[in-house]
Symmetry: C2
């Protein structure tokens, strides 16, 4: 059985309070002598204070709760690399601060947030929540520093790190038009429900409208954002009545699927049709053709989210930020110029 603070105190011939003071660095309360002695006993016995007990007494935990969306609840690979990538970066960030990550992926956040609270988490990061669930969440998590990533809710006075989704859609369209494309398909989740996709679509269609290109329902291929669904969407694009010269896809993984679907339908990318993705995952460099995409700068998002969160934790007050990380086109090989 592992040693407890009482045991250390007994061996050292001091009270538990003294031991507590030395291991917590309240060294003004205790003599050099005693510090040395206690420390040595701690080392010798490989004593680690119970994080649970400490957390109970201090009402803090050095743990950060992360809730991730579970994109397709029953699939084995249902968590997008986009989110696992961010998770890895967040883990790195909190690690440098001496914190731990508690992770849960789930359909609805509202169930999990209260559980994190019961663990006295010092902060929470919520990935990809919908705007509409935010009010309920805010109600439940009262007083726990929280930062959202990718929640489109600028009106809500929360701390959110997102991108300029409108600009992302806009840039993609401009880029493609700059390469001479005019018949462009849009592949992604429903463009009407409020959220990031709606914004992106708005930017996309506004850019086209500026050049007098009208978007109709035929241009839109509604699809979830994983590979298989992309394959399906790619096929539909290939066999559509409209002859598209380019497609913009709402995630890179989806774009990989689209490229595969196009290929299976006999079209070569980018020779016959161009594809642009969204996210700029490391995977973009593995694909062939390498995927041209709208970059989200994941690293900056994760880092800024960490910064915002710890600013709140350290200052002990809720701050509301609405940070917009810049987006840009990363040119690779999946888009070619077209001449009319």
């Amino acid at each position: 059985m592992a040693m407890k603070i009482k045991d250390i105190a007994k061996v050292a011939g001091v009270s538990t309070a003294t031991v507590s003071n030395v291991i917590n660095g309240n060294h003004n309360k205790v003599s050099e002598e005693t510090i040395k002695r206690v420390m040595q006993i701690v080392e010798e016995n490989d004593y680690n204070p119970s994080a649970t007990a400490r957390s109970l007494a201090r009402k803090e935990s050095k743990i950060i709760g992360v809730v991730m969306p579970n994109l397709a609840p029953d699939e084995p690979f249902s968590i997008s690399p986009y989110y696992t990538q961010i998770l890895a970066m967040l883990e790195k960030y909190v690690r440098t601060k001496g914190y731990y990550l508690m992770v849960r992926s789930v359909g609805k956040c509202a169930e999990i947030v209260p559980v994190f609270s019961t663990w006295n988490v010092d902060g929470m990061i919520i990935l990809g929540a919908f705007r509409d669930e935010v009010p309920e969440l805010e109600d439940k998590l009262k007083k726990v520093p929280t930062v959202y990533i990718d929640t489109y809710a600028s009106d809500l006075n929360i701390a959110n790190i997102g991108i300029d989704d409108y600009k992302g859609g806009y840039l993609a369209a401009r880029y493609l038009m700059g390469k001479g494309h005019r018949e462009i398909a849009f592949v992604g989740p429903n463009v009407d429900s409020p959220g990031v996709i709606k914004q992106r679509f708005k930017g996309f269609s506004d850019a086209l409208a500026e050049k007098n290109i009208q978007i109709t329902a035929d241009n839109i291929f509604e699809s979830l954002t994983m590979f298989e669904q992309g394959v399906e969407a790619g096929r539909k694009v290939a066999f559509s009545k409209k002859k598209f010269t380019a497609v913009v896809s709402m995630s890179d993984i989806l774009a990989f699927g689209v490229m595969e679907g196009l290929k299976l339908s006999g079209l070569k990318v980018p020779d016959d049709i161009s594809v642009i993705g969204f996210d700029n995952l490391p995977e973009c460099r593995y694909s062939n053709p390498q995927l041209t995409t709208v970059s989200q700068n994941l690293e900056k998002k994760a880092h800024d989210a960490g910064d915002a969160l710890f600013r709140m934790i350290e200052s002990k007050e809720m701050i509301s930020v609405n940070e917009i990380v810049d987006v840009e086109i990363v040119e690779r090989q999946s888009v070619r110029e077209v001449y009319n």
Copy 2:
């Protein structure tokens, strides 16, 4: 401030013990009447018992600690998709059991294991530990159910879920030889240090030896397992004195890099040179050519690890398993037949 058990007890006019009994389902100790009343008050006040206090009292936590190797400590994307993939699957597994995951990636496991212990984790999963660190670990984690994934230590009486690495290397070589290849490069971490790579290399070279093909130092390209290092290795393979017709790579991500490096050196895959990977990540389907690889069946590994872990947790006894998940070649497009 959130309600505590005392508050609920006061409102219900019962003792905290009774409240505790109803929320924990010890219903034989309390009347139907009281159960109803307490439950209602619990609901009305949205009461959630403190996980921290409960954990302290019960000496258990419903949390599973996961330690992941940090492949290249200072790189932003330093955690391989191989591990994040497994992490996502493990999260799913434990979620169905009502457990939470606490995650830490770190260079050396020995520091993190004791910390998990102080959280009263009910179990731990350790990914990719080296055999040599196991004894120290076992010493530190005394009594916490633990399962290792990918630790080659069949002699050590621990619970490990791995694959038949020897067979993996053997199969890769056989497969390539079956396609007519005789000059095969091996790209991966050091083949001498004890561990999975050594085993794979043994299988690889044994298979070749069976056909009287000798492996020399020229065939081996030592490399870490991420993309960038693969690019470098691919270049070296391309410009080596020996003319290789195929390369086996110790991870898929590495193989993507190798393909890129070969391409940058003017070689086409698979026309000029074939490449076979190891892992069978979802990404293999995104690459072009799609990567032929040795499949690890990640899903089964994660699932079996979960099974083993919860078998230990539920039976409250340490069991030692040394499970070998089967490997197989998954044929895609990165290897072609060659005629001598």
